[in-house]
Amino acid sequence: MFVRGLKRKCFDGEEDIEGTLAGIKAIPSYNLQRQSLLDMSLVKLQLCHMLVEPNLCRSVLIANTVRQIQEEMTQDGTWQMINTQSTGQASLDRLVSTDILCRSSRDQAEGKHGPAYGTFSKDFESDQAQDSSETMSTASAVQTPRNLQSNVWEMESPQENKGNFQKSLDQIFETLENKSPNTVEDLFSEVDNSYYDLDTMLTGMMSNTKMGHCDSLETFSSPTNTAPNSNCKSDLNDLDHIVEILVES
């Protein structure tokens, strides 16, 4: 789709790529921009307004964009390259702790590797329930894929990870499916029990959820991460608002 060495389209502040420059120099900056577009898109998908149902059209368009980027990255084979670059930045301790957080019990039972995207999707299933612990876990899950993948990619084929990623995106829309149950039984029948284990774990860990949220974002941030703390603040304001509504009603 995109030939290396050609000037990229539709990225702002395009750098002039001289004709004499080899494609090699062009690739990192294009990939960096593509990666930042991917990050931005994932953040956008997370930041569904807590109070009003998110705009489905916007969510679908962003999710499709993310899929496109991921497909291209897989085709390019640059997915591996990006992740080996970021390996050194994450400490092993952090990897282990996030690994535990993000493994669903089902994945553990099956002894699967590469839990990141699987649980990323699980977090998304209840991101509409405005639980701050979920927000925190979602945020951390976004960071872990790139860190975890550095170990995981050597073992798995790109194809499998593509499937995981696809699944995680797709399950964003399951949220809406699950959010409109006809009966109370439906509401509970569709809930995945393994999630509650994660939930209990997280709420147990988070004594002060507000502080925990911001701290975790800063802890897990990598240099290429563009998720600003301002997003965190808006989530906190929304949380206050929700508490207000719950108290008032």
Binding site: L61, T65, F173, I245, S249
Partner: protein, 425 residues
């Protein structure tokens, strides 16, 4: 922010203009009849009625607010002295009846002028109450409430030419209602996949054909239009015609799909064409040609190199509407910086105008504006980088027969009339 205008619609004669806002209110303007005594007061629009159409609601099951913002207003064709309109928020459509009262009965036997019961001993004869003139009073009453028809957010409503039915479209489904029946509707389009994981496309707008009561069109987030025939089957998931323009490979980017998403679709008055708006263009489609539009007009192509920033600040998801003039010769759509654009289909000339207090004094002629993209810059040109993206004109309407346009600029409504000539300059 409650008075941000969210929809604008003329009625079928152009005598009335309705606006809906973010706070759930509807304001109706009425055109003053032209009088020879005051030639400069020709046909101005004044407030006729204001009412609260929708209130905010809270969906306790989902723990989500339902916004009271009015997404669309559509007038019903007038069938008697009363006017009727449909207004909708994300979930509920309401039918409102607007009536005038300019007379009241006086001379009751049992009650006095203030409505108090008379002392019966003072009543010595019977009288017939007579109607006496009074100050005009406009009364608005909700006649029907069409609720619980939509799981997703309603983006369009359209009254059928049969004047008995109308449709409402949300992101995934389109329902057909009878205007007199509120407890049920027919689902005529359902694009919800069995597995929500497979969702990649949503419905963005829909409209009935102006003359053929069995035909309607709906647009999608992937830039396609589907013309459906309700006679073909009860569930119109299979389109009769699919209108889609193949992608231009030289312009391909990660934003291609987003900018191809159709934000509005409008049939021409003739019923022969459809007008669509996507992020950067307006297109005219001939109903008989499915492969590509017959005309494409660039609204603000200078934004093509800014798509990443516009994606970041969410502007790329802005939904602009489009409009035909009465004779289908000129099309109009809004843009940023309170600019709006008009394209004359015959002369192929276009103009950019601005809706702002500074540049619009009463009876002043609007000055054409220009956006410069580098190179030679003329006086009064605006550079792309100084455009104000918070000032967006999403909602515009054109009088059904005359050259009068209504432009909603955030919380201000501008009404422009072209008295001198109708040629584009």
């Amino acid at each position: 922010a409650a008075d941000i205008i969210s929809t604008v619609e003329f009625n079928h004669t152009g005598e009335l203009l309705a606006t809906g806002d973010k706070g759930g209110r509807v304001v109706i303007f009425q055109r003053e009849p032209e009088s020879k005594n005051e030639p400069y007061n020709q046909g101005e629009y004044n407030v006729y009625s204001t009412f609260q159409s929708h209130e905010p609601e809270f969906d306790y099951l989902k723990s989500l607010e339902i916004e009271e913002k009015i997404n669309k207003i559509k007038w019903l064709p007038q069938q008697n002295a009363a006017h009727s309109l449909l207004s909708t928020n994300d979930k509920t459509i309401k039918l409102w009846k607007i009536t005038e009262r300019d007379k009241r009965p006086e001379g009751y036997n049992l009650k006095d002028e203030e409505g108090k019961l008379k002392d019966l001993s003072t009543v010595t004869s019977l009288q017939v109450p007579v109607l006496k003139p009074m100050d005009l009073m406009v009364e608005v009453t909700p006649r029907r409430i069409f609720a619980n028809g939509h799981t997703y957010h309603v983006n369009s409503i359209s009254v059928n030419s049969d004047c008995e039915t109308y449709m409402s479209a949300d992101d995934l489904r389109i329902n057909l209602w009878h205007l007199a029946i509120t407890d049920r509707s027919f689902n005529i389009v359902d694009i919800k996949p069995a597995n929500m994981e497979d969702l990649t496309e949503v419905i963005t707008a829909s409209e009935f054909h102006p003359h053929h009561c069995n035909l309607f069109v709906y647009s999608s987030s992937k830039g396609s239009l589907r013309l459906c025939d309700m006679r073909a089957s009860a569930l119109c998931d299979k389109h009769s015609k699919l209108y889609e323009e193949p992608e231009d490979p030289s312009n391909r980017s990660f934003f291609s799909e987003i900018i191809s998403s159709v934000s509005d679709v409008k049939f021409s008055h003739s019923g022969r064409y459809m007008l669509t708006r996507d992020y950067l263009t307006v297109k005219v489609w001939d109903l008989n040609m499915e492969t590509k539009p017959v005309e494409t007009y660039q609204v603000h192509d200078y934004l093509r190199s800014k798509l990443c920033s516009l994606y970041e600040n969410d502007c790329i998801f802005d939904k602009f509407e489009c409009a035909w003039n009465g004779s289908d010769s000129v099309i109009m759509t809004g843009a940023y910086n309170n600019f709006f654009r008009m394209f004359d289909r015959n002369t192929k000339r276009d103009v950019t105008l601005e809706a702002s207090r500074e540049s619009s004094k009463p009876r002043a002629i609007l000055k054409p504006r220009r956006v410069c993209v580098g190179g030679k810059r003329r006086k009064d040109d605006i550079s792309v980088d100084s455009l104000d993206f918070t000032k967006k004109i999403l909602h515009t309407a054109w009088h059904p027969t005359e050259n009068i346009i209504a432009i909603a600029a955030t919380n201000n409504l501008y009404i422009f009339q072209d008295k001198v000539n109708s040629e584009m300059h």
